[in-house]
Amino acid sequence: MPARFNITLCDGPSCIHKRSKEIVLRIEEELKKHALTDKVGINLSGCLGMCDKGPVMIINPGYAIYGSFTEEDVPEIIQQHILKKKPVVRFIVDEDHLYNRFFRVFGDVNFFGKQMRIALRNCGIIDPENIDDYISLRGYEALARVLTDMSPAKVIAEIKKSGLRGRGGAGFPTGIKWELTAKEKSDEKYVICNADEGDPGAFMDRSAIEGDPHTIVEGMVIAGFAIGASRGIVYIRAEYPLAVKRIKKAIAEARESGFLGENILGSGFNFEIEVRLGAGAFVCGEETALMLSIEGHRGMPRPRPPFPSVSGLFGKPTLINNVETWANIPVIILDGASWFSSLGTEKSKGTKVFALAGKVKNTGLVEVPMGTTLRQIIYDIGGGIPGDKQFKAVQTGGPSGGCLSEEYLDTKIDYESLAKAGSIMGSGGMIVIDEDSCMVNIAKFFLEFTQNESCGKCTPCREGTKRMLEILIRITEGKGTEKDIDKLQRLGNMIKKASLCGLGQSAPNPVLSTIKNFRAEYEEHVHNKRCRAGVCQHLLVYEVTDKCVGCAACKKACPADAVSGSPKAKHHIDINKCIKCGVCFKVCKFNAIRKS
């Protein structure tokens, strides 16, 4: 059973100076006293960056940050917070809005206990259509702070220091992107929020905008100030009408309250945001295609350089970040880059939101610190595989990502580890696959998607993915050869390196990674004409079982005359004539047809 509580104690030099080592001992003692040792985990962390308030301790769930206490206060905190589930307010650092959240999500500790919510901090907590709710939880305070006593350079330095990387897929350091755009001289610059979330099965951005649209607005205004831009654009899928409505409402409310428009909060800074709708093209998530789409063109990516930071929308320097990245900005400003960078792994800081779906008990949106393992997400948060089925694979990164097998379950979530394992972080889709799914078919599904979404501009993606798909279809129909697997790899590797944009460059990933991690399944399809998951229709064998009453429904329905038998006697399917259409299976009212 996973630990229900987690105590994270700052182990920085200044906290050690304030007797944090002794405090640990005291906590352990106290836990023992209440027989809580196996219900509460204790972690030590690097400096949490609140040295003036040391010693500092976070108790999760709840993110209650305790500071400026002594060993003597430990029993009270343990008894109140953990036993009585009532945090000791007087030690809680700052007017911490995170505190509020503790009780809010408490009823749901299995799901939320391992999570850490930064980007989604307000999602499911506030009324997204009421700016007062957002403001009451320190909303727009980060913006106010920036406008009060930070220079643009200082804002950028803070974002750089936080180690935040783009949450849209590639993981480019956000601060550097800001810096590059800031240093371009131009009469006009643009800030864009990329909300063209198109991965099948991913809905992080939609939830974030629907649940907390103001944080996006706030993040964008801060960026506008930092890079010297006065125009922002939210490019969002038209398929998300509610999200569109809420972001529009948030923009209007923010304008009314003086967080947008002229002379924001009396600072003299001006910034406007408009909303542009996508129209059903996955490739528009690619930044150059997105900008062309805003300009009123077909969303066909163009070669880079020039990069958007130099020549982007309407030829002006442009800063593009995705929804989740924007949602992190206000928190970094409010709680500090040091705190943010204390979370996560060496190269990937903060948290990441995943849309957990597929064959897992608790499907949903989860936000976890970088460095959490796949196993923790799938089993601790997701509750494992339903129906006692066997875990087979986890697909991360959507159609651009890869499928990882069981041996990778202890991979820590960060950009580099996932890439090393053969997948990507991507925008955060996470699909759990169990033994009932065929990996060749899964690869086919993703490739069908990218093939359908290819813009058609460059040859490798337009023509190459089509050929790969044809080969996969051949394999799933039992017509594949050993050479086909080699061809998939040859094409896949070429398409990865030769395509114009990220869509093409990553389109072969699901295929290549399944060949790498599940080659045996491919070979079974090719050599033994067998699909172990029983998914590939053409490889199925239909048989009549003893349940057959001889109603002849299947015989009449069979388009290939493969069924024989006299009335009221058990029928028989001629495997050689059977075209595996499955009609007999569908028409049988007695469940007498078995496919295997």
């Binding site: 749901d108 009324d127 007062d132 403001i135 305070e141 913006l143 009396g266 949106l365």
Partner: protein, 118 residues
Amino acid sequence: MSTPLEIIRKKRAEAINRIISKGYLSSKRVYVGMATCEIAAGSIEVMEVFQEAIRSGLSDVYLSQKGCAGRCNLEPTVEVVEEGKIPLKYGLVTKEKAKAIIERHLKKGEVIKEWLIK
């Protein structure tokens, strides 16, 4: 001249006052999930049940919508917060369940344990 920080503090105080004036300090607060996913699962009907109840006299309850907290498979969700108590979240709420929550939990204070998200 106030600094932006001073302005925002003032705005926050105003915002909190507005929220309170809408009945935030009622003894029970009810939050209905109203994101696309929740709506797809039927949360609009659920919301209507609560709204109707308030219209027909249910008092001392603060009703609000909220975004998606991420529990896809248990939607629609309804959260009941009672001052000083642990918040409770109901999952897979239907119109009928919503009526029961009003009758039993909101009016009589009886927690319907079997519908809670554990």
